[in-house]
């Protein structure tokens, strides 16, 4: 092998190997400089809303024997209004329903909002939209959850709000 070809071969090998290393060690922006974020994350069972009535004697008699219950209930699942403001500006106002086709599965909330670093006043309301006869519900969630707090966001930091002990809580920072 000629010295010229040896040098060319070695150079090409170094370039190719360097290319592999460079491609493996590239740094790519993710959240950028000074980003901070408010994250809402919780799961909960939505309220089951039941409407119960007592069957008349005639209705009761028409039922097959194995379905004869004097009180029958029909139920739906509650939906919730989520309203979030930061320093008086509304960041989110939306309706949250349970999962599944009929909306009767658990509620999963995972929302992220970019906020500038610094101090912010956060107000969060998570409230049931339907009026419920409290005597017939199981109170899976309180009818209304409120959070009103000031948060200092540092660059690169996430403020996390979740539901713990049946209340909205700021768990980080």
């Amino acid at each position: 092998m000629s010295p010229w070809r040896l040098a060319l071969g070695l150079t090409l090998a170094v370039v190719l190997a360097g290319g592999v290393a460079a491609s493996s060690g590239a740094h790519v922006p993710w959240h950028g400089d000074g980003a901070s974020q408010l994250r809402l994350s919780w799961s909960a069972r939505p309220e089951r809303i039941e409407t119960c009535r007592t069957l008349s004697d005639e209705e009761f008699a028409q039922r097959p024997a194995h379905m004869r219950q004097r009180v029958v209930c029909e139920g739906t699942t509650a939906s919730y209004a989520l309203v979030l403001t930061a320093d008086g500006d509304t960041l989110d106002a939306s309706v949250i329903r349970g999962g599944g086709l009929r909306g009767d599965r658990a509620i999963f909330v995972l929302r992220e909002y970019a906020l500038s670093a610094g101090s912010h006043r956060l107000q969060l309301r998570f409230s049931r939209r339907e009026a419920v006869d409290s005597a017939t519900t199981q109170h899976a969630l309180p009818p209304e959850l409120l959070l009103d707090t000031g948060v200092v966001f540092r660059p690169g930091q996430v403020a996390l709000v979740t539901i713990a002990d049946r209340a909205l809580r700021l768990v980080a920072p």
Partner: protein, 522 residues
């Protein structure tokens, strides 16, 4: 559209080959063995992966990987070698696909190889994904979040996966265990995929030559020692890293997956995957003309079995004859035949090959076209070059300028030795055969069988009566036309020193080769 794509792939592949041949020569061109190199890199990945697995802890993924990376004696370079080998595997696999596309080797009987290759490449990407997540540095977390976002868009999971990474609770060990399980299960699936990939190939090459594979492994090892792969800080769901390391070779899709809507990402993945999987079906040719499958003339077949041994695709088998002769007869399975024509050169009585390219067809073409032109030349200028059409497109012009008479072949493996014998006995001063590098043959094994037929008495051998001083077999690598021209010049000078041959009259090699029971033949 498909032909344009093949043309682009062909040009790209040839340009890369030229660069590699200039730097390393054709013997050491790794691109010719990109598929075998990918298979070898899977071995490297398995060995380094088993080592890393011994020290990886599902309960403390980031800490355990950081401990591995901090070990300067073994852990650091083992981890980096694992990562660089992943990159090299994906590059080798992509180049392998590009080469096959450029050589129109993606359709017909090769469809299964293409489809399983796409599967292997996809699994390789997925394996890299889970591997990065295992490390659970900022980049691993980024990949996990990007993946969770995509999976949450599919209506298959009751609870969004993304909530795992919300930060309101620690990322469960079960997630890392599942990720580890997938990372190990995928390579097992790759074993099955690899078996499928080569299942229609006779004598698949799964290991590169020893020197080449160890050189490449040593290069990756040296790179691992000199430039350890970066490892970001441990993944923290409650922090927002400004940037992360990103392995461009294996996770180039991440910026797109993060920026686009999940439905758009899934649609793109689906469309791209379907398009790649459709390549063998869109690229197929009608099985006629140069793509017609080989056939066997049973009257000529002596049952010698040589074509079944030489066929690189296992497309020929021996079956009982329908006539009274006691031998078996060769039968071509057209669904397996790729029309490479290797069998044409393997049959002593010249009874097999694609239509128009059997040994008899080659002799007929020689008599009608080439021989008169050769015999019209001055005696010392009768040097014939039989060259593979797949080689350098500029070479014929250069050889003609140097005084050669050129005759193209679809592959040197097609060439029947009788053609060379007839040329020499009918007045050619010498015959030079220019083939492709053996590991880059479109017909897979053309140069290998040619060399054995000419110099090692493989069946359908070049007869001993042909003076080997008048025959030369050379390799014409792309970008190395100068080497072929040098060989031609030397050969020509050698021929001038030999005594001139008189052309023999009435040489009929067809009759010499026919079995006595063949009856009247065309």
């Amino acid at each position: 559209m498909m032909r344009a794509l093949e043309s682009v792939a062909r040009r790209l592949t040839r340009a890369l080959d030229v660069a590699m041949h200039r730097a390393y020569g054709w013997r050491w061109n790794p691109l010719h063995l990109s598929g075998a190199l990918a298979a070898w890199l899977l071995v490297v990945l398995t060995v380094t992966g088993v080592y890393l697995l011994l020290f990886y802890r599902v309960g403390a993924p980031a800490a355990s990987v950081q401990r591995i990376a901090a070990d300067p004696w073994l852990g650091s370079w083992m981890r980096t070698l694992h990562r660089y080998a992943t990159d090299a595997f994906l590059i080798a696999a992509a180049l392998h696909a590009l080469r096959l596309l450029g050589q129109a080797r993606e359709w017909g009987p090769r469809t299964r190889a293409w489809l399983s290759g796409v599967f292997l490449f996809g699994v390789g990407l997925a394996c890299a994904w889970t591997g990065f997540v295992m490390a659970w540095d900022s980049f691993g977390m980024r990949l996990a979040v990007a993946g969770a976002r995509l999976f949450d868009a599919l209506p298959i999971l009751s609870e969004p996966v993304s909530r795992i990474f919300a930060g309101d609770r620690p990322v469960p060990d079960a997630f890392f265990f599942l990720n580890l399980f997938v990372h190990i299960a995928f390579p097992l699936a790759m074993g099955v995929g690899l078996w499928l990939h080569v299942s229609k190939v006779a004598r698949p090459v799964l290991a590169p030559p020893r020197a080449l594979k160890w050189r490449i492994t040593a290069a990756l090892f040296g790179l691992s020692v000199l430039l350890p792969a970066p490892l970001g800080p441990a993944g923290d769901p409650l922090s927002l890293p400004r940037e992360t390391p990103l392995a461009l070779t294996s996770t180039w899709w991440v910026p797109f997956a993060e920026g686009a809507a999940p439905w758009m990402v899934w649609t793109t993945v689906l469309v791209f995957t379907l398009a790649v999987l459709a390549v063998p079906f869109v690229g197929r040719r009608p099985r006629e003309g140069s793509w017609a499958p080989s056939w066997v003339d049973p009257r000529l077949c002596t049952g010698c079995d040589q074509c079944t041994q030489d066929c690189p695709w296992g497309a020929i088998q021996m079956v009982p004859r329908e006539d009274a002769r006691p031998t078996l007869v060769a039968l071509v399975n057209p669904t397996l035949c790729v029309s490479c024509g290797i069998c044409s050169g393997s049959c002593p009585p010249m009874g097999v090959g694609p239509p128009g390219r059997t040994g008899r067809d080659q002799l007929a073409e020689l008599r009608s076209d080439l021989l008169p032109r050769v015999q019209a030349l001055p005696r010392d200028g009768r040097v014939v070059v039989l060259r593979c059409e797949q080689g350098s497109s500029a070479l014929p012009r250069k050889l003609e300028a140097a005084g050669a008479m050129i005759h193209p072949l679809t592959c040197v493996g097609n060439l029947h030795s009788s053609v060379v014998e007839l040329l020499v006995r009918q007045g050619a001063a010498g015959v030079m055969v220019v083939g492709c590098p053996p590991r880059d043959c479109v017909g897979r094994e053309g140069p290998k069988w040619l060399e054995q037929r000419f110099y090692h008495d493989r069946e359908a051998e070049l007869q001993a009566r042909v003076d080997r001083a008048r025959v030369l077999v050379v390799t014409g690598a792309l970008g190395r036309d100068d080497e072929v021209l040098d060989e031609f010049g030397t050969f020509r000078r050698r021929l001038l020193a030999l005594q001139a041959l008189e052309a023999e009259a009435d040489v009929d090699l067809r009759e010499l080769c026919e079995p006595e029971t063949a009856g009247a033949l065309p």
